[in-house]
């Protein structure tokens, strides 16, 4: 089952423009702190672990596992909201698409795909590997 929900455009601001510019090229990047070496989510210009502003955008593996999820039934088109723990460490909110919703399980491996939004950059979502 493919997700058919219309996805609103993400809010883009000066701090996150680089992330969304990469997304327009279908590149999934994660913010790393060059000072402490840690990846974080959601992306910020100031490292939430050490406070440094030496943030670098690095290409992410685009793989992860489902930390938790829920099939939203009370919607025009059911959709799956989820948290996926990335290979780089942090856990991010996303959607799971392109699968039988009833067969999903926590711990399942997933990989990133981009899905179009109203009139903004595409957003990263995941589907089972």
């Amino acid at each position: 089952m493919q997700q058919s929900r219309k996805i609103p455009s993400p809010v883009v601001n000066p701090e996150t423009k680089a992330f969304w510019d990469a997304a327009r090229e279908r590149r999934f990047v994660v913010a790393f702190c060059s000072a402490c070496g840690k990846a974080h989510w959601y992306p910020r210009a100031v490292c939430p672990f050490c406070g440094n502003e030496a943030i670098a955008w690095r290409a992410a593996a685009g793989t992860g596992t489902i930390y938790s999820f829920s099939v939203m039934r009370r919607a025009k088109e059911p959709y799956v909201i989820a948290y996926v723990t990335l290979a780089e460490g942090p856990t991010m909110m996303t959607n799971i698409v392109g699968c039988d919703f009833d067969a999903l399980a926590i711990g399942q491996p997933v990989s990133v795909v981009f899905t179009d939004t109203d009139d903004g950059p595409p957003v990263p979502v995941f589907r089972p590997v």
């Binding site: 929900r5 996805i7 609103p8 455009s9 993400p10 809010v11 883009v12 601001n13 701090e15 996150t16 969304w20 990846a39 974080h40 989510w41 959601y42 992306p43 910020r44 939430p48 672990f49 930390y67 938790s68 999820f69 829920s70 099939v71 939203m72 039934r73 009370r74 919607a75 959709y79 909201i81 989820a82 948290y83 990335l86 460490g89 942090p90 856990t91 991010m92 909110m93 996303t94 959607n95 926590i106 711990g107 939004t117 957003v123 979502v125």
Partner: protein, 389 residues
Amino acid sequence: MTINGKAYIAGAFEHPTRHAPDKSVAQLHAEVALGALADAGLRREDVDGYFCAGDAPGPGAAPMAEYLNLNLRHLDASEMGGASYVALAAHAAQASALGKCNVALVTLAGRPRSEGMATGTAPRLRDPNQPEAGFEYPYGLTTANGYAMCAMRHMYQYGTTSEQLAWIKVAASHHAQHNPNAMLPQPVTVDEVVDSPLIADPLHRLDCCVISDGGGALIVVRPEIAKSLKRPLVKIIGAGETVKHLSAGTFDLTTSGAARSGPAAFAEAGVVPADIKYASIYDSFTITVLIQIEDLGFCEKGGGGKFVADGNLISGTGRLPFNTDGGGLCNNHPANRGGMTKVIEAVRQLRGEAHPAVQVKTCDLALAQGTGLQLGTRHCSATLILERE
């Protein structure tokens, strides 16, 4: 410094309405304010501190202070979602302890039912400047599916079942049948809960709270004022508050801020969970109750499913009587914010003024627990411990 014994809840009032299409939000705030003052035996002119949160027609406390024509020397408009009123009662005690006010008024009111709000199931972009907005709103985060992800993870980690969650609704409904104002006064069974339609897996329709108009208010006063009034003495002896968030992507959805605000409140009060005779536990969803009960220490982490099953939360038969007014699950969830009614029912229990069918015997120690905003992302937690003197 402690607030233990520095202030008393002298007045508490819950608006009887559950549907107020013909009243304004400001009017509802005013009606509950006057109701709580009458309950305390105080006058509007006595109020010198006003405490409100994001449901008050804002910005902050000024518009309602003007509407009520209050003459104030202390203001607090701390916004913590549904946990605000539990925290604001404690803030009022702090202000009282420091001599910043003598008579503090705390109000809550709203009319989401009249406004036809799809409270739990519609994605909402509250403020585009919220830094996470771009990384959450596109995915269709709603109140219901955010809490549902907590439930899903709790089931995965601890084997919690939908039937165990359903017992929380069953207990609330047993209490609500004695409340003439309750929106859902009919007792329900475990089967009825798990057979109700799924909203967001694994939460069913009957795992969710009601949507109602209404409000409530509290009057918090200095000890000498409390002792001059005719009402039973309900003393604030401990409080804690915190925010739990996604910690830059390193979070555990099975715990809540109650794991921090609870121990802080118990330490200040000098009591332990086993001492508590009655607990008001915020119940936006059944899972909210289960996680907070664990985090407050009423049972071990992961043991909440077993703890809440088989009527253990029902007054008169269970070990931990909870939400004897029917709670948000069955009675009332004014302004989509349950913290106020949590404190009000705890006050009723300590005064011996709960419905006789649900009144806890010799109820001298009670807890009110609030969770505000979204358990599945970032939420505020506030714990208040009250003693009958």
